[in-house]
Amino acid sequence: MIRIGLRDARSHFGRFIMSIVAIALGVSFVVGSFCFREMLDNQVSQMMSTNADHDVYVRGSQEKKNSSAMSMGSTKSYNTIDTDLADDIAKIDGVSSAHVIYGLSGVVLLDKHGDAVTTVGSPTLAMGMGKSEPWRSAKFTAGTWPKNGDEIALHSFAAEQSKLKVGDKTKIVYPDGARDVTVSGIFTTDASQAGAIIIAIDPATAKEETNQQSDDPDKASLISVYGNNTTPLTAEQQQQLSDRINRKLPKSAKAHAITGDAYRDESTKSTQDALGFVQPLILIFAVIALFVGSFIIANTFSMIVRESMRGYALLRSIGASPLQVFTTVIVQAVLLGLVGSAAGIALGWGMVKLIASGLSNMGMPLTGATDPSVSDMLIGLLVGLVVTLIGAALPARNAALAPPIQAMNETVNPEKPVHMRGIIGTTMVALGFLSWAFTYVLASADGNGPTPWKMINDIAVGWPLGIGAALAVIGVIVAGPAYVSTAGTILGWLPSKIFTVTGRLAQRNISRSKRRTSNTAAALFVGVAIVSCLGVVATSAKASVNSLIDTGLKADFAISSASGGRIPDQAIKDIENVDGVKHVVSNRVVLGVKYDGKSVSGFTFATQPELFTKIFAAETTEGDAVSALKDGKLLVGKTIADDRGWHVGQKVKVTAENTVVDEQATAKAQADYQAKVKAHAQELQTQAQQMAASGDMAGAQAKAKEIEQYTDKAKNVDPKTLVKTKKVNTKKTLTIGAIVSNSVYRDFAIINDDLAEQIGNKQTMFVMQAYVTDRRGSDTTQVKKAIKKAVKKYYTISVFDRDEYKSTMSSMINQMLMVLYALLALSIIIAIFGIVNTLALSVSERTKEIGLLRAIGTSRGQVRGMLGIEAAIISVFGTVMGLVVGVSAGVVIRAVYAAKGLETLAIPWQQLLVFLLLSIVVGLVSSISPASRALKQPVLDAVASE
């Protein structure tokens, strides 16, 4: 029996191709998604072991609740610890070095030609490293560590991108300005840095730059410890060292040491979790492909079984058992599943390789392994086989159990009724929409929530949203067959008016096997639903940004900094001096401000009243923004006000802890130093005089030279080393003057510049965003050029006019849309397979009927037309359902996140229309091959009675 099955499989191979492709596609997504995930994981852990290669890490001992809503993944945060602790730890036995590693993420490196080195999304990082604080994983290929702030060392990828060599002079732009540096060395690391530009800078410089942006320079989150500066410690040694450090750490330090391995595992996991969202997205499409695949296989085997029925009847009549007949069919399915899965594994592997090489071409080299593991392959194989067997099981059963007599005549058994599915499915869809409606009410409710039950009001909106989506999608698939007839009538109306006969035939053929039609359409339905939903969200996001700029932003230019968001004060002054510039409004971030003891979700910034007269039209729910700013009152965003229950007129205690230069102490330190220098010089002078007196002229001269050198050195001493800082706590009670509801400022607290200086401290405040209006009548492009010229020397400052400002926001969204279209293309390909297959099956079932039609004068074109219309109705049916569900989901999502920047609802009608037209084309294209097959059949064979 197995031999018969194998022989059958060989003769049916042509039939199997489409099934194999479908299975291969599905399996390739499964394998590819696992493989891609593993590649990312691998890359992350490689980077972790290279970039976090310390033997022991010391961090805060108390876990903090994560206050930031933006943080993703499972990152835990701990209390910060004193930086001074590093010195104590360094003295512990077995510790060769212990440092706080300062890293700056907003720097810009200029390449050989003086242009900024850009990356694709990866950061440019400047890390404090040097001979005394080495990075163990870095291996120098040329030169060595930077000795001071005038030198830098480059990671090989950074050197490659900037084309800089050891000894080359260039500039590095720190948040506070550019600095001339010389490349002192180039080093490599085992793991690629995923496109990041890594620069080693002098640790003192790194600390200084970091401190400028820090709330509290004396605190750090992590102290990194090497037990040995050249060779990594074993796990056991790490454990011993961390235990020793823990014993020595004073309880008051609130610090705790963990082994490097533990730390790496922890951070690897949290990074991997954060990247984990990619896989389910790919898997959705794998599921679609496999669903269609299984369905195609069922269809294919139905065809094969029908055609071989007489053979099976013969086998049965000469004594084969039903199980044996079943086996002949299943053997073919197993074979098909194996071939399809193998092809799919190869395809998935290739896809991941392609993605990896694509990324590396784009400037993001990855060293993570791209090869699928054995378990990936087994999963792929298993999935492919199971899906194939599920698809083949029913036809195989029919083959085995059909009585020989039934095998002889071609009657198609009538379908089971579909009313029940219609009722169940429709109920599910209705519940889904109800759930969405509830989501909407929940999201748009102010304060207390829509229901009297607190428990329900506290449900995160994601739940009803997701449940609604699941119910709607599954409901439509369940109910689909019940609506096929209606859909055929409606969608077939137009074709049946244009092509009276073929249109009407097609219209009726659609509802002949409702389940099959509906399942075929389902593939397209799911794909289109996902894409149109995201399309609505993306378009709304774009429209929201645009309308914000069109209606809200009155400025002619927006100025922002590419690096760390800091715009030097001098740059603002330079812009103010540009000819044609009328007004510059700068938003200055004030760090470390707390309101009634708690910080706000966004941050505090200081600005001028012009922000709300010349730049943005203020939207307030209470109070007047402009006068509030003028009067030195506090403005809070609506989100904060809602959160805290604040209203205009209420008084809020504002506290700020600032680390400031202790003028007195600094003056004293300087005076002390001067005195020390003076005393020493005096002492040398005395010695010289004594020498001169004793006749040692040469000695006296040498001493005089020493004095000169010493005083020179004293003069050149970096005054920064003498700066003493102190902590200053400012307290102030402010009255709330207005509650701002402009979407951009909802999470912020706003004060005027005077207040900012009283509360904060000038050194830690920095301008993050500036807006420029030009003089009426001046040429905008000219002014823009002039501004650009004025800020060129700061390298990192970008000037956007209104259109550019819009497009920077939307280009990101456009990129996302591109990915969506790729997914759509994918689901279309899969759907085409489904439709082709369904039509092929239906043609094979209707051989006689089509022959009859041909015999009574139907032309080839008319047969093609009929099948084309059938296919188009199927694909339009799927697309329309997808559009309805997808757009509804998009509308709900938009409404739910209206407060998070999706203010304007925009439905991409044009795009949706293109989807619809595309679906007609898809249908017509799908019908070509089945129609050809139908026409190849000689009329005689179809109608001959013998």
Binding site: R310, G311, A313, L314, S317, P404, M408, E410, T500, V501, R504, L505, R508, N509, R512, K848, E849, L852, L853, R854, A855, I856, G857, T858, S859, R860, Q862, P938, V939, L940, V943, A944, S945, E946
Partner: protein, 275 residues
């Protein structure tokens, strides 16, 4: 009126002056299979079918009777020889010409599966005209429907009709377009004797009353006895050509070789064996 116009044109465009022949086969040969196992289904057959006559083709299974009809109707291509229907050479036609021929000159009635299952009886009857985008003559339609006795069944789907009713719908459909010739392939093969009689009477009446030409393949002497002329084939040759034979005369021809009469069971047995 449209019908008459159509009918008139058809006659005036006839290339040959009306010699009373609607279709003819000239030296028609059909060979199946490859060199090694050749089967000659038709062996240099010459035959003419006269206008306004019902001709029955009889013969044992494998005699070539169906092949002759299929070649005449353009459903099969002969190995050599010519087929001419209404002065048009069918044997050399391409697909488009064949489609036109089927639309204008030929009607079909098959043994089974004559109707499109998704269409009602009325729609099935009108289908050939609609496919050919020809105008529908309602008077003629009503007349045909009345003759076949389907007035009350017009809105029924084929699955709601009995076998005899289905076959009468097929007859109505064939005659609706008033083709030059109707080819009927075992039209009563699946019917009981009463339904057979109804269908055959209708076919005979259409010949008598409307001058319709019909060529019918059958193995049933009773059915053949309705014909004006009976041709008997054996081994690819016409062995008898009888004018208005009686039932007994036909029976006589087949006396002694009853086992040649087709029956469903023997067909099934052979085919299962082949499969």
């Amino acid at each position: 009126m449209a019908r008459h116009t159509f009918h008139d044109t058809q006659h005036t465009t006839d290339k040959t002056p009306d010699d009373g022949i609607v279709a003819r086969a000239i030296d028609l040969t059909k060979v199946y299979g490859s060199k090694d196992n050749e089967v000659t289904a038709l062996n240099h057959v010459n035959v003419e079918f006269r206008r306004g006559e019902m001709t029955a083709i009889m013969g044992p299974s494998g005699s070539g009777k169906s092949t002759l009809m299929h070649c005449m109707a353009g459903l099969d291509t002969p190995s050599s020889g010519r087929v001419i229907v209404e002065g048009l050479e069918v044997s050399s036609m391409n697909q488009k010409q064949l489609t036109d021929l089927r639309r204008e000159q030929i009607g079909f009635i098959f043994q089974s599966f004559n109707l499109v299952p998704t269409l009602s009886a009325e729609e099935n009857i009108l289908l050939p005209l609609q496919i050919a985008k020809r105008p529908i003559d309602r008077d003629w339609f009503n007349q045909v429907v009345k003759v076949v006795g389907l007035e009350k069944r017009l809105s029924h789907r084929p699955s709601q009709l009995s076998g005899g009713q289905q076959q009468r719908v097929a007859c109505a459909r064939a005659i609706m377009a008033r083709p030059s010739v109707i080819f009927a392939d075992e039209p009563t093969g699946n019917l009981d004797s009463r339904s057979s009689r109804e269908v055959l009477s209708f076919l005979r009446d259409s010949v008598r009353d409307y001058g319709q030409s019909i060529v019918m393949v059958t193995h049933d002497p009773r059915a053949a006895s309705f014909a004006d002329r009976v041709l008997v084939l054996a081994d690819g040759n016409i062995t008898r050509d009888m004018q208005h034979p009686t039932y007994d005369e036909i029976l006589e021809v087949f006396a002694g070789n009853d086992d040649d009469a087709d029956n469903i069971d023997s067909v099934t047995a052979t085919e299962v064996a082949q499969a």
